[in-house]
Symmetry: C2
Subunit: 220 residues, 2 copies
């Protein structure tokens, strides 16, 4: 994994949004072209931002013509990894872990949780949806040579960091962390945190904004 | 709830990021000022975007001086609802629901799940963490006059829409939907979807980008 350069999270999110926007546009017109300004306007970004983001994927538009929607869409699909399947290891077979295992859309979207680990002796050796729960102590041996690139951490906060280290030793390139604790990973590993508090905070923001804006307008 | 104007999701997300950035800056210097360009540069947005977003909260900068960091931070805290607590009703006491109920950080951040509903007769009447699980059929009666503004949907996909309608009838202003199905809400209600597939997709994007960028550079 040496020598990987990391894309900033906001850039990756925008690339994903460009991919979806281009897909919608392409569905209407296979031969469409779009300028960076049009693509940016559709999503609320400046054309400079769009051009900068697309240099990350080595994509250049043609002055006065813009990007071919179909070509850019295909390139983004490949670059964003949507043309292949992904194997993941889940650590933690508690409430969150079980919810993820029963989530049918993962398989539909070509994300396969092929290994499950837990530390509870009563759980180890049992199966969930035909997947045997293995001992968390065996992560490294179990994951060697099994083509798992993503790790999902769904353990209590205090175990998140040691579990992350085991996954990284085993060679995963990306970690999705559901534990409510910040974990440290080397710069060669991609980390994504799912923070339910932040999600609820965003929703409350919106509800609050809706009810306060009318009052604010008088102050400006 | 009539007459609410809705803030676009990307704007709300940026306001939240401005709030955090301003908090960090304020911690270093209580008397700091920041221009829209400085705030935008710190987060990767154009100064025009920042100025536009801040008009949503009725906040104007002073030409040549910028915004007072402390004042803008205080205003955003109030407008974003971080100066008060929020009560939520949870519908669905399955894996996701139980995980949310055991999530200690909600209470720390002043989000309180004060009512829990389920449709399973074996579950109704039992308690989780001192909260009695009530019948989903009684949502409207139970929620009237109890100051619950947020609803959390953690039921199977096919029940998500009818549950959303019950919550809206009961007067919630915001819904957090964990069910893997798109639900329809009136424009007066704020909807936020938690899509684990999208989250995993983003992570895979990043891992894939890291490993493909070096190849792409040759093509541009």
């Amino acid at each position: 994994m040496d020598g990987k350069s990391k894309i900033p999270n906001p850039t990756a999110r925008r690339l994903s949004l460009y991919f979806r926007e281009l897909g919608d546009r392409r569905a209407l017109d296979e031969k469409a072209t779009m300028s960076s300004r049009q693509l940016g306007t559709a999503l609320g970004y400046s054309d400079a931002q769009v051009r900068k983001d697309l240099t990350f994927v080595g994509q250049l538009g043609h002055p006065g013509v813009g990007y071919s929607v179909a070509t850019l869409h295909d390139n983004l699909r490949r670059i964003l990894g949507r043309d292949r399947s992904w194997n993941a290891a889940l650590v933690g077979a508690g409430n969150i872990g079980r919810a993820l295992l029963s989530y049918r859309r993962f398989d539909e979207q070509k994300f396969h949780i092929t290994r499950v680990f837990d530390s509870n002796p009563r759980t180890i050796g049992t199966t969930i949806d035909q997947r045997v729960i293995r001992d968390v102590a065996s992560i490294k041996e179990e994951l060697v040579d099994c083509d798992i690139e993503l790790g999902i951490i769904a353990v209590p906060a205090e175990h998140a960091q040691p579990v992350a280290e085991k996954l990284i030793e085993a060679g995963v390139g990306g970690i999705l962390n559901f534990a409510p604790r910040r974990i440290e990973v080397p710069s060669t590993v991609v980390l994504s945190n799912v923070d339910f508090t932040l999600t609820l905070e965003q929703l409350a923001f919106q509800v609050n904004l809706c009810s306060t804006i009318s009052h604010e307008e008088d102050d400006s």
